[in-house]
Amino acid sequence: MLNLTPRAADKVKEIRDAEGLAGQGLRVRVIGGGCAGFSYDLFFEDETSELDQTFVSHGIPIYVDMMSAQYVEGTEIDYVEGLQGAGFKFVNPQAKQTCGCGSSFAT
């Protein structure tokens, strides 16, 4: 299971609408690399496969492939704004270590 905070869901809708991608879901993927070993990857997609897990959070369909799912189980995605920038923040209970910018993690 993977959740968006209300603030993150609003931002996802805003971006999706701005890019004319209404109806598409949010693909959450884990890829190898990044300072701490694994990195998160987010993009819109309208296709799923039988290898995907599908969730709906605050009206946003979320697609996670079975390999990535084992690394992000229980993760909450927030959206934060600050003086040093804004972006989606992953709160992953499986991450034992994250890099300074928060975009990569180790398990």
Binding site: G32, F38, S68, S103
Partner: protein, 308 residues
């Protein structure tokens, strides 16, 4: 002791040898290059068949797990890595293949030959650039069955250019003479990348994230490495063993990693601890003999910064 002709060949013409302590790992798949970019310290962007890039694979904590020459190919990328690290590297690299289209495989049937020296490119035009001593170099990958015939062919070609074959002892001594550290001897998983002195040829500070990068950036931006490799000349009779302490005015400030007896005396590589790099150059003792620091590896001929 390295015979004079061999070091002369490496300095002025070219010397040829089989790299029997190196092995090939193949990386293939549609995502191979992009994925590998997230694993290596140097920038692989735009690497094409016939191009090569030198860099490190780091542990998660930012220490050097292996050095690698990344060789661009038409169908797959080859990594020229230390033979002793193949199993550990495959395990480490495979751990970070999630859903990417990437396949990793040890290719034990492939062997490596190299020519080093300013005329290395004239020995044979195929292969990849691979400057391993700072004086120019070329690398060839051949099937094991072709190793000896190809070594013979390249050696004869090298002789026609005024060079010749390099044996294992001369190759080891040449690293000390040129000031080019070797993986497993002068650095390894006990060293941070900047400690090796190879940062100018092995690390990109603009390429973006890779495994272990955070430690590298912190060392670069917030302070100095805990120790740094230097080149040494020693007024002794025998080359000191590895781990021989480097002393200054009775205080241990570092230790030797490798040494060689050359025609003009004993040369060595050894770490100097942070805070002891500066000074007049006087008062150093290694293995009971007076010694002179010649400068950090990073500023020396082993990475092409000055003449030997």
């Amino acid at each position: 002791m390295a015979r004079a002709p061999e070091l002369d060949w490496l300095r002025h013409t070219a010397g040829v040898l089989a790299l029997r302590d190196r092995a090939v790992i193949a990386v293939r798949g549609d995502d191979a290059l992009e994925w590998l970019q997230g694993q290596m310290t140097n920038d692989l962007k735009g690497i094409a068949p016939g191009n090569s890039v030198y860099g490190f694979v780091l542990t998660l904590k930012g220490r050097v797990m292996a050095d690698a020459w990344v060789l661009g190919g038409a169908d797959e990328i080859w990594l020229d890595v230390p033979s002793t690290e193949v199993d550990r590297l495959l395990e480490r690299l495979d751990r970070y293949v999630i859903m990417e289209d990437v396949d990793l495989a040890h290719r034990p049937e492939l062997r490596l030959l190299t020519a080093q020296g300013p005329k290395a490119d004239e020995v044979s035009p195929e292969g990849w650039p691979s400057d391993r001593l700072g004086s120019g170099g070329r690398l060839w990958v051949v099937d094991e069955a072709q190793l000896e015939p190809e070594l013979h062919r390249l050696t004869e070609r090298c002789r026609s250019l005024g060079g010749g074959p390099i044996d294992e002892q001369a190759w080891a001594d040449a690293h000390v003479a040129f000031g080019r550290p070797r993986f497993g001897v002068d650095f390894g998983d006990w060293t941070y990348p900047q400690e090796t002195g190879l940062a100018p040829v092995a690390i990109s500070f603009t390429k973006g994230c890779y495994v272990g990068q955070e430690t590298v950036v912190m060392l670069q931006s917030r302070g100095k490495a805990p120790k740094v490799l230097w080149r040494w000349a020693i007024d002794g009779i025998e080359p000191p063993e590895g781990k021989t302490p480097i002393e200054r005015d009775g205080t241990v400030i570092g230790e030797i990693t490798s040494a060689a007896r050359l025609e003009d005396g004993i040369a060595a590589l050894g770490f100097v601890r942070r805070g002891h790099e500066s000074g007049s150059g006087a008062g150093f003792v290694i293995g009971g003999a007076p010694a002179r620091p010649l400068g950090p590896v990073e500023e020396g001929p082993g990475i092409g910064r000055s003449s030997t």
